[in-house]
């Protein structure tokens, strides 16, 4: 048979290399200044809040037991940090929050896959799931106390009921947002069953699912604080919620505000150190950044 192409493999390769170089000219990536702005700007907000707070106290002269100064709040927290109670409380709460979140993930994942793939299951259970997601999970605290007493089981039940619906719902949305071409490609390549779920469906659903996971964590953390604040029992050990309640009982406003700030800070740190890098990496890898 006559040769079907007039150029050699090497000649075509040279042409391809030239064309590829022309078509993939790099545009530098994210500017350094933009990165600095993103990490420094939030600190400005903190500075502004503290300044306004201090100013308000100077102008209105409200007594310290109504609104303590930033310095008093800082002192209160520093005291707890020195005594060690702050660290054991924060550590304990964070550990329970993470454990509850991971269990919620383990339940929400198969639930989301099942409802994402089966339209019957979805039609039956999704409204219930969405309803649960809307329900403030603190509403479960009284029921959980009756069922499980003032125990860790109560805390975990509330955290799970808070986080699981968000995670499952997030996965369903993630599956719905998958461009059909990826699923077709997976089928054509021969992915079936567990392999299809693990290698095609879940990674394809990940960008949408990630916001559900993030929301799931936020709900887990909130539910935990609500549960700790209400279900008080020395047997449960120290926690940020318990600390908040102790400070209230002592009427120590600086300590109350300080604890609120600690709870806020833990939330911000988890977002900044865990979810933001995860989100950025996902967007960057898939070329979804603008």
């Amino acid at each position: 048979m006559a040769k079907a192409t007039e150029h050699s493999f090497e000649e075509i390769g040279e042409l391809a290399a030239g064309l590829d170089a022309l078509e993939t000219a790099k545009d530098g990536g994210v500017k350094r200044s933009a990165r600095v702005l993103n990490s420094v700007a939030p600190l400005l907000a903190v500075a502004v809040v503290v300044a306004v707070w201090q100013l308000a106290i100077v102008i209105t002269k409200v007594p310290g037991w109504v609104l303590p100064s930033p310095d008093q709040v800082w002192q209160a927290i520093a005291r707890q940090a020195q005594s060690g109670l702050l660290w054991t409380s924060a550590g304990n709460s964070l550990r329970k929050g993470v454990e509850g979140f991971l269990i919620a993930l383990a339940i929400g994942l198969p639930l989301g896959i099942a409802l994402g793939l089966n339209k019957w299951l979805r039609a039956i259970f999704r409204p219930l799931l969405t309803g649960l997601q809307q329900l403030p999970s603190v509403a479960w605290v009284p029921a959980a106390i009756i069922w499980f007493g003032l125990s860790d089981a109560t805390i975990f039940a509330v955290v799970l009921l808070g986080a699981t619906p968000s995670i499952a719902n997030g996965l369903i949305s993630g599956i719905d947002q998958i461009p059909p071409i990826y699923l077709r490609a997976g089928r054509v390549l021969g992915a079936r069953g567990i392999t299809y779920i693990k290698d095609i469906l879940l990674p394809a659903a990940w960008p949408g699912f990630l916001s559900g996971v993030e929301q799931g964590w936020a709900f887990a953390w909130r539910s935990l604080m609500a549960a700790e604040l209400i279900a008080i029992n020395p047997a449960l050990g120290p926690g940020l919620g318990q600390m908040l309640d102790t400070a209230r009982q002592l009427g120590d406003m600086a300590w109350v505000l300080g604890t609120i700030l600690v709870i806020l800070t833990v939330g911000v740190l988890v977002e900044r150190l865990v979810f933001a890098p995860l989100r950025n990496r996902t967007l960057r890898n898939r070329g979804l950044v603008r």
Binding site: A4, I12, L19, I181, R187, L189, G190, R286
Partner: protein
């Protein structure tokens, strides 16, 4: 003539009983190693045919005898964006149970075959449209099928890139001995690539006519034989399209 590697007899497809017929009594057979192009206007059921052949859709009636499994390439590159070019190919290898220890080396060789020796760690979004389609070709080859079905794979590319990919594809076809069924609405592309061009009607999709291309010379899109035959086929295609007016 040897036994056909793909034989389609009296194939019909309707999406709903009593609904419009998408493919009507289609008969087609491909010899091993043959390069056949299927040309037709919109609604000729080209894509439906390929979907039926790969099991993505079901047929309504008729017989399909596939002598070997087929790989399918789409118009969109369909690379998975969470995997690098190399890992996309490795996934295809994994799904046909290619030995794990040899996947990486095999993927690299396939990338070299499509002239992308440095693309292993690049992500789909970092590649140009033409490069993505070449990775997609490499991924289809990774499946090790004897038949390659291509659904307008170059339709979204610019003319310069398409010209290059035509030459690459023909070279790969010649070297691997693959049987190729290439679907396109671009008559010139069909004549430039294939040994046999088949013209389909639209609504319902039927085979109207076919042309065998005997050429000792390597063809280019600019070749006289390509433009001459394209004119003839385009006239037939226009006649068929007018019928719907």
């Amino acid at each position: 003539m040897s036994a056909p590697i793909l034989k389609i007899e009296h194939l019909s497809k309707q999406y709903a009983a009593g609904g419009p017929t998408i493919i009507d009594d289609l008969n087609l057979s491909l010899q091993p190693g043959e390069f056949v192009a299927l040309v037709g206007a919109s609604g000729c059921g080209k894509s439906t045919l390929l979907n039926i052949l790969t099991g993505l859709e079901t047929k309504t009636s008729g017989n399909i005898d596939l002598g070997a499994e087929a790989a399918l390439m789409f118009q969109e590159h369909a690379l998975l964006p969470w995997l690098t070019a190399g890992k996309n190919i490795e996934l295809a290898l994994k799904l046909v149970n290619y030995p794990k220890a040899e996947r990486k080396a095999r993927a690299q060789r396939l990338l070299e075959l499509v002239h992308l020796p440095h693309a292993y760690d690049q992500r789909p979004h970092e590649l140009s449209g033409g490069m993505r389609q070449r990775v997609a070709i490499a991924r289809a080859l990774a499946q090790g099928r004897k038949i390659l079905l291509m659904d307008e794979p170059f339709a979204a590319l610019d003319a310069i890139t398409r010209d290059l990919l035509h030459e690459e594809l023909v070279q790969i076809w010649e070297e691997t001995g693959l049987t190729v069924l290439f679907v396109t609405h671009n008559v010139r592309e069909a004549v430039r690539l294939a040994q046999r061009v088949i013209l389909m009607s639209s609504r319902p999709g039927r085979i109207i006519k076919e042309w065998q291309i005997e050429s000792a010379e390597p063809r280019r899109i600019e070749s006289k034989i390509v433009s001459d035959l394209s004119l003839v086929i385009t006239e037939e295609l226009r006649k068929e399209i007018k019928r719907h007016g």
